[in-house]
Amino acid sequence: MKSKKLSIIKIIIFFFLIFINYNSIAKSSTYSEEQTINITKNLRCLICQGQTIHESNSDFAESMKKFIKSELENGKTNEEIFSSLVEKYGQWIVYDPGISKNTFLLWTLPLLLFLIGGAIIVKKIFKKI
């Protein structure tokens, strides 16, 4: 029985080592088609109704796709492209609201509520009557 448990622990350790191994795999730095899609999926098509640049076939979206491709070919990073677009079109264009003075509450309020909920539950369970 004991040896059985031991082998299970071995298996768990084995998987744990694999997890660690995962992190060390470096991401490739060359620009790819997928990278363009990743960017355009997070951009709002400003002239459409609730569509991303990636999904839209409008003239605006098409020219944006070309622009992003050329920026990537020039070696710009995703962050640089996003920030230049935000500068030009405003925060409205990116689907990721990011953390700023204006969006601080947006991110923290749900987390705060989660903590409060947890506190209420702990109090309810561990309260001695």
Partner: protein, 628 residues
């Protein structure tokens, strides 16, 4: 013309019936008689009948294309197929509110018929409280959204229905969704009534559970239909966009799901009474918030709201009145109902339900804040931000992992106290989960710890649920839904990571390659239908085993109103969907082709159906006393 009049006066009669219901219920309530008279049931029946007549009149006006009716004129056209003339009835603001009203009066009738064995003062109070909502919506429809307005001079042709709404699934989507959405109203009325009549107990929970399940099933079904429609109609192969209009249907769903778990605890253990009542109120309030957000036009832009604020302000005011009313009732009757206290052990089903509610309410707060925060920011600071998928993914996904782990062990918990035994079988499930997750992650090529953890959580829930499914002591309906839910999460994850796509601009005769598959653009044909012209692209896909798959995406050019839509062509198999759309490029011979592999799409729909079936099992076996 006359039919429109009939519809209008029928609505007025429906509103007048409310007065009689109010009057009669109050008298009976004073008399404290143990049974309620057939008169009240009859009146409620009449009210439903009047709304029904009104609704039928509107459908009839649509069917005969009566363009003296403003709603018909704005949303219909003579060349539209009959089916879309009918579904066009609720494809617009006025008609959809009439549907709201129909369901609203219908659930009251259903409740009064179904609740025969419950205390009469509780039933009367529910009727009275529900009438407040009914009157509110009657006035709303008649004052701001009358579907029977006449226009003069009478037009010979209507403006037509938005072509993307001319779709069989979207035709039945609103009624199904509304049954769930508006079904929550009776939960609200009954919750407040149960407080006033001091009836928040096991038998109340047992009976109201039917309505919670009823709403939950239809809401789930409505959301499913909406997603399927979005998937094939909007043309880029997604099924959920975290769009505000989707979010407002998800919010009451989350709240109902929390309530569903809570009500069982009340039924079995008479616990969490206060919280259950609050959840009932929240659920209906969220339905109202959704109605407000969608119907006021505030979602598109705060500026559209400013153009025609009367509708939005009416719903908002009405919502505030209802919330205030429930708050007052809650405070007054709080002490009368919730004095009993009892201990909760850490390892018990009670704790599991608390944790379930904790997480679900967190998810709810993420969706709620993500949806309304941008509106406030726009109104207060005039700053426009977009809150899209990255926000929801970051705040929801990490929490899903502990959530599904709790969800896996929750059903194994027992009421009051559980003694945990970790046997060899548990270890086997864990090891199997790890192996399965590891190979899956390797297979899809996403070597990332976080994704691996997600898979571990989802697979664990799946395997654990399958294991629990075999045990006779467990609640079969619940486990069945849980299995569906785990399958849904797994399918969504697999789908989002192994979808492949390619976008090409090509001419007829050319071809391109995606992952061992050759896509050949054979020819193009033009077909003429009743209310649109269609450009059909004929494509041949040669898969890796050289089998031929034919796909025929279309570009439809509708004439009334003038609009071009792109109809995807989809070939569904068990493991992946092949999805192709075609678009015109202006002034060129090229066509824009988007070809996608969407793995496990069918499983997303199947697993949602499994979730719904779980709910149905729970309804149909309610008479059998089982421990959940």
């Amino acid at each position: 013309m006359i039919i429109s009049q009939l519809g209008y006066y029928s609505l007025i009669f429906g509103l007048l019936t409310s007065i009689f219901i109010f009057f009669n219920s109050s008298i009976q309530l004073k008399k404290n008689s143990p049974i309620i008279s057939d008169k009240i049931t009859g009146l409620i029946g009449f009210q439903f009948f009047f709304v029904f007549i009104s609704f039928i009149s509107l459908i009839y006006s649509f069917v005969i294309s009566d363009f003296s009716n403003e709603t018909v004129y704005n949303n219909s056209h003579t060349t539209k197929p009959l089916f879309y003339k009918i579904t066009g009835t609720w494809g617009n603001h006025e008609g959809s509110l009439l549907l709201w009203l129909l369901v609203l009066s219908g659930v009251l009738l259903g409740f009064i018929i179904k609740s025969k064995n419950e205390p009469s003062n509780f039933r009367l109070l529910t009727t009275l409280l529900h009438q407040i909502i009914v009157i509110g919506f009657f006035v709303f429809v008649l004052k701001t959204s009358n579907p029977f307005n006449e226009i003069f001079p009478v037009q010979t042709e209507g403006l037509g229905l938005n072509p993307i709404l001319q779709d069989p699934i979207l035709g039945i989507h609103p009624p199904i969704l509304y049954l769930g959405y508006v079904g929550t109203s009776i939960i609200f009325s009954a919750a407040l009534a149960s407080m006033i009549s001091n009836y928040v107990n096991k038998s109340w929970a047992k009976n109201i559970k039917f309505w919670i399940l009823f709403s939950w099933i239809f809401l789930t079904g409505g959301i499913l239909l909406g997603s399927i429609w979005a998937y094939y109609e909007l043309g880029w192969g997604g099924f959920w966009f975290w769009d505000p209009v989707e979010n407002v249907s998800l919010m009451p769903w989350l709240s109902l799901t929390a309530l569903l778990h809570c009500i069982v605890t009340l039924e079995k253990r008479e616990l969490f009474k206060k919280w259950t009542i609050i959840l009932c109120i929240i659920t209906f309030a969220l339905s109202m918030v959704g109605t407000f957000l969608v119907r006021s036009g505030i979602l598109n832009s705060v500026h559209t709201f400013a153009n025609d604020p009367s509708r939005g302000i009416y719903i908002l005011t009405f919502l505030l009145v209802l919330v205030l009313l429930s708050f007052v009732i809650f405070v007054i009757y709080e002490n009368k109902n919730f004095t009993q206290k009892s201990e909760i052990f850490v390892l018990s089903k009670e704790t599991a339900v608390l944790i379930n509610n904790w997480f679900i309410l967190y998810f709810l707060s993420v969706v709620l804040i993500g949806t309304i925060y941008p509106i406030f920011l726009d109104v207060i600071l005039d700053e426009q931000i977009s809150v899209g998928p990255p926000f929801y993914n970051k705040l929801i996904l990490p929490f899903l992992i502990p959530f599904v782990l709790f969800m896996s062990i929750g059903p194994s918990m027992k009421w009051i106290k559980t003694n945990f035994k970790i046997g060899a079988k548990s270890f086997f499930v864990i090891v199997f989960t790890l192996v399965l997750s590891f190979f899956t992650v390797n297979f899809i090529g996403e070597k990332n710890v976080f994704i691996l953890l997600l898979f571990i959580g989802f697979f664990y829930l799946f395997l654990k649920s399958l294991d629990q499914l075999r045990e006779k002591t467990k609640n079969f309906a619940q486990i069945f839904s849980h299995t569906g839910f785990s399958l849904l999460l797994i399918s969504i994850l697999l789908n989002s990571f192994s979808s492949k796509e390619i976008v090409k601009n090509i001419q007829v005769g050319e071809s391109f390659i995606l992952k061992n598959e050759k896509i050949i653009f054979k020819k193009i044909a033009i077909e003429k239908e009743k209310n649109y012209e269609s450009i059909v692209g004929f494509f041949e896909i040669l898969d890796d085993k050289n089998r031929i798959i034919n796909l025929q995406p279309e570009i439809r050019i509708y004439n009334e109103p003038e609009m071009t839509t792109s109809e995807a062509s989809i070939k569904t198999t068990l493991f992946k969907d092949r999805f192709i759309t075609i678009n015109i490029i202006k002034d060129q011979n090229f066509f824009n082709i988007r070809y996608q592999h969407k793995p496990f799409m069918i499983w997303i729909w199947i697993s949602t159906l499994i979730i719904i079936m779980g709910g149905m099992f729970a309804i149909f076996r309610k008479n059998k006393e089982v421990n959940i």
